[in-house]
Amino acid sequence: MNTSGAFRERLGEAWTEIRENPGRSFLQALGVMLGVASVLGGFSISDSQRQQSERIFARIGGIDKLNVLPTDTVYQGTPSALHTANLGLRLDDAVEGGQVATAKAVNATSVMKQARARVRSEFSDQERDVSGIGADYVAMNGYEIEQGRDFSSHDYATGAPVAVLGSEAASVFFPTGEIVGKSLRVGEVPVTVIGVFRDKSFRFREGQQNIFAWRNRILAVPSLLVAARMEGDQYHRLDKVTFRVPDLAAMADFSRELTSLVTANHRLQNDFRLDDVGKRMERQRSQGDVYNVIFMLSGVLALIGGGMVNVNVQLASLKERVREVGVKMAIGAPGREIFKTFMTEALLLTLLGSAAGFVIGIIFSWVITKSIGVPLSLAPMSFLWATLLALVFGFLFALYPAAKASRQSPMEALRYE
């Protein structure tokens, strides 16, 4: 048989058959439509959600971070000499952490010391959190300078009396808009404002509050300023040390080495914890994967249900078409040709059903994401998966009716009334 021509003929014939029997074809394609819509919709809803949370993490400066945070140590009775000798998390931990063998993977470090102080300007007088920051804190937390300048390494090294304000803090303390170069009193320390951070804003859903509002309240000074001038702490204790490790594979080795280093520095006391942001993200992602599996499963169930309907409709329609099959056999169509005709029809129907399913699925996920206020994102893989699943099930469920049609005796098929 002349192959390409024959295929085109079969395709044309299948199309005629589908067009002439719209009701029956619709019933047959219904399962495929729902299955494809469900797989596609599920994927794109959870993907939209995931992309939204990834956008948040990108705004806070990436997820490839390892935080070291102090924890409460539970003392039993009187503190021992070891307890008393422990200085807690401090600048040395950050510096030495950056020097261990596996620290090659670290490409940025930030330190932070929080303090509470009375902050006064010409216009305002408030009790505020003051962030003593150091090293790559600004970049690693996604802050950008809007006015003035960033801290220099000299500022950090000397604990210079300078401050950079978040947009909210800037508008509270300097409502006139003249900010850079002005003076503030932080506690008892006079500092000069050298810059303002760009306003940070992110709303998870439209109309919701800005979840980054607190970040605009920042009042940043060098951490050494907090330690030395405000708290008189010669050990430069810290509230948070963060290492950026872009290579997630190196993260595990580095955190192991860091743990043993910090444990040794802290007199073998477990008074800190490591918080791997990447790992936390992965846990959240795996939740998304669960939804994907659920939607995929419901899609598969729809396809199986639809496939069963398909088999029944095909078998019923076969009764109408027995004579036609008989005629074709009489004029020389071999069984495999009849088989191919039925399979072509089923697969064409599956493809048309998939296309309709795409439309339904896109509308469905658009409505859902719109209603929860997340921008819609369509994953190309979901189209592939949905079509693939539909084709596999379409193929499997078409086999039986097609085989049955092709195995008829031409004699009986011709006699069939």
């Binding site: 002349n2 036609e324 056999m329 004029i331 169509a333 071999p334 011709l414």
Partner: protein, 229 residues
């Protein structure tokens, strides 16, 4: 040259107690270019014989050679190929595909034979011209009269230049005038050298053929040849 050669052909339906012997031993030879009418009352076995001659069914016993090929041992797909190549069927109910155009109906046997598209189309148009309805190529069978449909069926039967044209009550569904026209077409095809076997229960129609084979109870009762004029 013999187109049909059967020896001791038998066909039994059912088994043991309620077996029906439709054919009890048919010896029939048909030469190339003959016009034969198979005649007999219902139940005489003529439909069964026609099915076996048409390779739609296989005999229970005996031998059958079609155009020199022994067919009783062939598989289903070999039989399909043989039907496609050697036999043109014309049925009482026309049996055209209702959703395909006239042209496509005529092209279909050539499609199964793997004839290229262009050649297929050209031959189909020629055949429609030959049976006298060249202007209806793109209509559906439902729009034609019975006589026209039977002409299309004959064109389809001729598509692959078959060795044997097998017609089963081809005028059964037509009025007598149209029936006569269709019979005239068969006679014309016969004079052009086609081998025609016509199955009928009507002696008047059988009289069209130059040779009449009368079946009764699964056996050949008479085999009557008219003198060539």
């Amino acid at each position: 040259m013999k187109i049909i050669e059967t020896r001791g052909l038998t066909k039994v339906y059912g088994s043991n107690g309620n077996a029906v012997h439709a054919l009890r031993g048919i010896d029939l030879d048909v030469e190339s270019g003959e016009f034969v009418a198979l005649i007999g009352p219902s139940g005489s076995g003529k439909s069964t014989l026609m099915a076996i001659l048409g390779c739609l069914d296989t005999p229970s016993g005996g031998g059958y050679a079609l155009d020199g090929r022994q067919v009783e041992k062939l598989s289903g797909s070999d039989l399909a190929a043989l039907r496609n190549e050697k036999i043109g069927f014309v049925f009482q109910q026309y049996n055209l595909l209702p959703k395909a155009t006239i042209l496509r109906n005529v092209e279909l046997p050539m499609l199964y034979a793997g004839v290229p598209r262009k050649e297929r189309r050209q031959r189909a148009l020629e055949l429609l011209e030959q049976v006298g309805i060249p202007q209806k190529a793109n209509t559906l069978p439902g729009e034609l009269s019975g006589g026209q449909r039977q002409r299309v069926a004959i064109a389809r039967a001729l598509a692959n230049r078959p060795a044997l044209l097998l017609a089963d009550e081809p005028t059964g569904a037509l009025d007598s005038k149209t029936g006569q026209e269709v019979l005239a077409l068969f006679r014309e095809l016969h004079t052009q050298g086609n081998t025609v076997v016509l199955v009928t229960h009507d002696p008047a129609i059988a009289a069209t053929a130059e040779r009449r084979v009368e079946l009764y109870d699964g056996l050949i009762l008479h085999d009557f040849m008219e003198k060539a004029a």
